[in-house]
Each structure stands twice: as structure tokens, then as C-alpha cells.
Symmetry: C2
Subunit: 356 residues, 2 copies
């Protein structure tokens, strides 16, 4: 849309929560698309607001956890019924009544409405301008410089800080967080092995520099796989899946091992009483294991350090990201559901509009 | 036994492991008493050895975990079949062929054979002399200055270090570790509440200075009790029981809560696959909880600091200990079994002989 032919009213499709989904993968019973009209007339845009045309939406596992209507694990604010879903995304400013933003600016937003167009207040939604000429692709902004990369960076650089030479295990390693965490751990000199759900993704992980990787689906058991890949035990585990894999890891930890809990993809679709219980926490006593959970929100004051380091790594070719693109706002539900299968190679993003 | 009437040979009853006990409370199928003859003739005592007459034996939960024959949790060396059980205890030297020990010396030993008499090498068994005129009772040496007090001190002073004003919960609070940990946390200015298994022990905990305590057996549920006693949530939890109580606590933790795993008395009598699984570890992510296990053996270099501080506290009346005495070497099995019931008020010790 060029500025010469601004329509006064525009149709916008948006995803909203029709019903909470306490269990299972969310479906069209829970998430629905509707079309609304948005006025672009200058008088109708509130002061200090801008109109954003959405380009990309990042799909992250935490989104699932805030559609349940129950605070049982991540303790983030839940989406309300009828509320438009919001997610980390990239958009372009097409109208501005906020002096620091101009039409044509590209912006990152951690809480961008999952809609084709939206009227937002930049200061409330933590908008940040990005330079399309920076040499960093929009998908890198969403992935390596977005929630996945930041969660991985906090896990490895802030919370975990595994020592050079230590044996690091990463589950869901071909997911957005896992692939970045593994590369960061390699840059720290660790011996890094990942688990994932397909042979194709095992190959991807080796291409990304992991020392080794295994397909948990074709292993006899988690236990057998860990015995094979960690004959000298696990010193550091970044847990992205929880449940049975976490339990198996606790039977293979070395003394003073450190476990960082980042996410539990195997457990998000269950109410907590139906989740897999971990029965061998006593091993944490004998092996003096430290296990800690974190939320990246608590490290937002480090976002600048993160972005600087990661931009350098990207430009130096030391960190790369693999992503899967779903096309069109309509694909949001399918993209979200896909992260609970093993079908994706890397980070999942929705391309709502092209940049041009 | 005075030195004037030294018998050349003496009968000694000793407890040995007849069979490993992977599950359940150990019985006479597993632990048996036998009588052996010990020669007191000087020529028959090896050089660098002493003969000890046992006075007291400390009963500690870890003993249970090393009778299973399976390394599944604490990873301590297991007792072998036919091996005499050893435990923390106090004895008197009645013969010495080691120049630093004299007949009549009182000694503490972390690995004293559970026997009336034993021939031991002081340097191998980490013997330490104690002064009966120090003003500290033998039971205090076993309890406050023994494994219970040391585990509590490491949990509170070294690993946990809860902040003044924080809400501290201690399970199995009337046990040897719990009662000391609660008093140490009170000395740090914490708000300390304990759980225990009888109303009589609730009363004991209040006498020991706990801010409050509850009988988990008469609570509607662990969850209801924690809601009632921690309306502002739990900041620090010293876990001595594991299983369902640990799970309940994870539903009541505050952000950045710290959980120190000291023991899991509810789980020792089960093989690991039968233990209660903890289903809500995801709460550790949302609440950014840190959970860590420890073994007091890793803090042995701090034993001197511990003993100095605790002796001062004992003499100043700031820490006291409650104990239950079982009489005679024959009562070892009963005393060990008792820690898995809720029958004891405080630390359990076996008095094998009187001091006089």
C-alpha cells in the first residue's frame, strides 16, 4: 500500500480466543479468525498511536500456555475470551500519530496483535524500530534476535553458563530455542548433543555444529539413547520438553550437574495433574544437582547485551537459524499446532505480508 | 569395665546385613544380630588400632538408603551382605595400640560399627576425641553436633542461606534435621513453619521456637494446609520428605523461591520407579524456582566452622535438641524402623551402654 492511495477504511483479519483450551492442541474451537474494519482516517486514530501492517508473526511455545485459562506453570497473563491473540512480530507503520514513528518504519513488537492491521500505542507495546538495511534478515530478527534466541541466550549465558569442556544435552534441540542454545554452548567450548524428533533434524543439528544428535523417536528408550550418547554422563541439561525426558536425564547426570528448565513442550497440552511426574528427584540429592527455571522476562535488562552479541555472531557467521515459514494470517492456527508435532525444521514463523 | 579386671576375650553383639532390602521398612529378614568374640589381649590387637566400647549410635535416614543394594538416589556406598552395619556413634577406648589414644578416651566416629565392641583403626574411621567435661552432653554430640545438626547447618547456612523475613517451610520438622534447621532459620530472622506427624510434635516445634507448625495427618490435604499456613507463599523450602509434599509446595512457591533437597523420607522404602512423581515442575519455570540437592559429605571442610558455631549456640541456649533414646544394641532395628513412622519426638539414638 503506497501513501498515494490510502483507503479510509481497511479490512483486517485477526485471530481471537473463542474458548480456553485447558488440554490438547488448540483447534478452531478455541482460536478463530474474524474480519474487522479499521479506519485509516487521521481523525479516527487516537493520539500517540500508530497503525501497523503486520509482516511476520513468531510462533513460540509460551503462546500455548496462555490459552488455557488456568495459571498452572508459567504464570503469565492468560488471554481472555474474545481477546485478539498477540505475539512477537514485525510490522510496518502505515499511519502515525506518534512523533517518533513515521510511515514506512519497520518495527519489532513483543506483543503484536495477530492481525493483518492493528492500531497500537508504541510505548505500551514496547515497539522497537529496526533497520531493513542492517544486513540482518527479518526472520533473523524473529528467530536469533527474537524470543527463541533471547531465551537460549539467557539459558546459556545468564542462568546456565556451562563450563568449557562440559557435556551439554539439549532437548527439542531443533526448535527455536534449542538450536540457538546449542550453538551458544558450542561457542563456550562445550561438548553439545541434542535430541530431536526426526532424522532430517538430526542432520540439521550436525550442520549447525552440534557434536552429535539423536532422534528420540527411533531410540529404544530415552535411557538407552542417553547411555549411548553420554557414556561420561551429563553435566548440563537445557530442558525444553519436561516429563519423561527430564526423568531419564536425572538417571544420567554427573555430580554437581546443572539443569536449566526453559520449557516443557511435552506437557503444555495437559492440565498439571495429568502431566508426567518425575519420580527420581532423589538423584538430585545424591548427585547434588541444581535445577532452576527461568522466564526471559526477568532478564529484559540484558536484552541490549544479548542483541549486541547475537548481531555480532550473525554477522560473523557464528550463529545461524533455520526456520519454517507458514504463509498468510490464516495459517496461524496450523503454525501453532505444528510445534507440538515433530514436523518443523527450526523456528516457526508466519509471514503475513511480504516486505515489499 | 575397669582396667583392673580386663577379660582377655569378650562377647560382642553386632548388627549385620543378612539381605538387601530394596523396598519397605527393613526387618529381621535384612538386619540380624549375631554374637562374636573379641580378644582384648594386647598381642591380638593390630598395631595402630584401638578397641572401642560403643556407648551411643545415631539413627539417621541415610542408613536406610544404603541397605537397598541399589544405587538409586543418594549414590552412597551400599552395605554388603554379611557386613557389620556402621553408623555415627560415640564410644570409649578400652584398649589402645595407637599412641594418640588412651584407654578411657571418649570418641566420636562417623562410621562406628553397630556393635557392642569393635576393633578399629582411628585414622581410617575419622575418630575424633570428645571431652566429657565440655558441658555438652553425649546426646548433643550425636544430634546437634552430629549428622542431623550438620545436615541442617549445611542446608541453612551453606546451601540455602534464606534471607531474614522470608517465609520458610520445613517438612519432617520434628526430625533430627528439621528441628535444627528450623532453629537455625529462626536465628537468621526467618518466619519458620514446620510440618510433622502428630499434635504432640506440633507442640514440640512451637517450644523450639518455630513460628507455627501443623500436623499433616490431620490436615484436609497438604494443599489446604499450605494455603492456610502460607497465605503469602513460600520463599524457602527445606525438603526432608519428597513426593507429594514437594509437589504440594511447588503449588505454593513465590517467585524466585529456593528449595533445598536434604532427604526424602517418604520415598526411601520404594524403588525409584514406584516413587511418587512430581507433576508440576513446570511451576519452577513460571516462578523461577531454584531447587538443589546436597550431600553433607561435600561440606566436610566446613565441619570445624559448624562445630564452633553450634557449640556456641548450645552453650548460649539458642539451639536445643529433643531426642528419643532406645536402650540396648538389640533395639537398633526397632529404632531404625521408627523413623519411618511418626512415633518419635526428635532425633533417635540408641544407648548401647551408659557412660559410667
Amino acid at each position: 500500500m503506497s501513501s498515494e492511495k490510502k483507503a479510509e477504511t481497511i479490512e483486517s483479519k485477526e485471530w481471537y480466543l473463542a474458548a480456553h483450551a485447558p488440554e490438547g492442541v488448540p483447534t478452531s474451537d478455541h482460536l478463530r479468525l474474524r474480519t474487522v474494519n479499521i479506519s485509516l482516517a487521521v481523525d479516527s486514530i487516537p493520539n500517540s498511536h500508530v497503525v501497523i501492517e503486520t509482516l511476520y508473526i513468531s510462533i513460540d511455545p509460551y503462546l500455548r500456555a496462555i490459552m488455557t485459562g488456568i495459571d498452572d506453570g508459567l504464570y503469565l497473563s492468560q488471554f481472555q475470551i474474545n481477546q485478539v491473540i498477540s505475539a512477537f512480530g514485525i510490522g510496518r507503520v502505515i499511519r502515525s500519530k506518534e512523533s517518533t514513528y513515521s510511515e514506512g518504519d519497520f518495527v519489532l513488537c513483543p506483543f503484536l496483535p495477530v492481525a493483518e492491521y492493528s492500531v497500537v500505542q508504541p510505548s505500551h507495546l514496547h515497539l522497537r524500530k529496526i533497520d531493513p538495511a542492517s544486513g540482518i534478515s527479518f526472520t533473523d530478527y524473529l528467530s536469533t534476535l527474537g524470543p527463541s534466541g533471547f531465551a537460549a541466550w539467557v539459558a546459556i549465558e545468564v542462568v546456565g553458563n556451562p563450563r568449557s569442556g562440559s557435556n551439554v544435552f539439549i532437548s527439542a534441540a531443533a526448535g527455536g530455542v534449542g538450536m540457538h542454545a546449542g550453538q551458544l554452548a558450542k561457542l563456550k567450548g562445550c561438548n553439545v548433543i541434542g535430541s530431536t524428533g526426526s532424522n532430517e533434524k538430526v542432520k540439521l543439528l550436525k550442520e549447525l555444529g552440534f557434536d552429535d544428535a539423536f532422534n528420540y523417536k527411533s531410540s529404544e528408550s530415552f535411557d538407552a539413547a542417553l547411555s549411548k550418547y553420554f557414556p561420561n554422563g551429563i553435566d548440563f541439561y537445557l530442558d525444553n520438553v519436561g516429563g519423561k525426558m527430564l526423568e531419564a536425564v536425572l538417571n544420567h547426570v554427573n555430580s554437581k550437574a546443572h539443569i536449566v528448565l526453559c520449557g516443557m513442550i511435552s506437557e503444555y497440552n495437559k492440565v498439571w495433574t495429568e502431566r508426567d511426574g518425575v519420580r527420581n528427584l532423589m538423584n538430585m540429592i545424591g548427585k547434588e544437582v541444581k535445577m532452576e527455571g527461568f522466564m526471559m522476562g526477568s532478564s529484559m535488562h540484558r536484552f541490549g547485551d544479548f542483541a549486541k552479541q547475537m548481531e555480532t555472531y550473525i554477522k560473523e557467521g557464528k550463529i545461524s537459524s533455520k526456520h519454517v515459514i507458514y504463509n498468510g494470517i490464516e495459517s496461524f492456527l496450523e503454525g501453532l499446532g505444528s510445534i507440538f508435532s515433530s514436523s518443523n525444521m527450526g523456528k516457526v514463523v508466519i509471514q503475513v505480508k511480504s516486505k515489499a
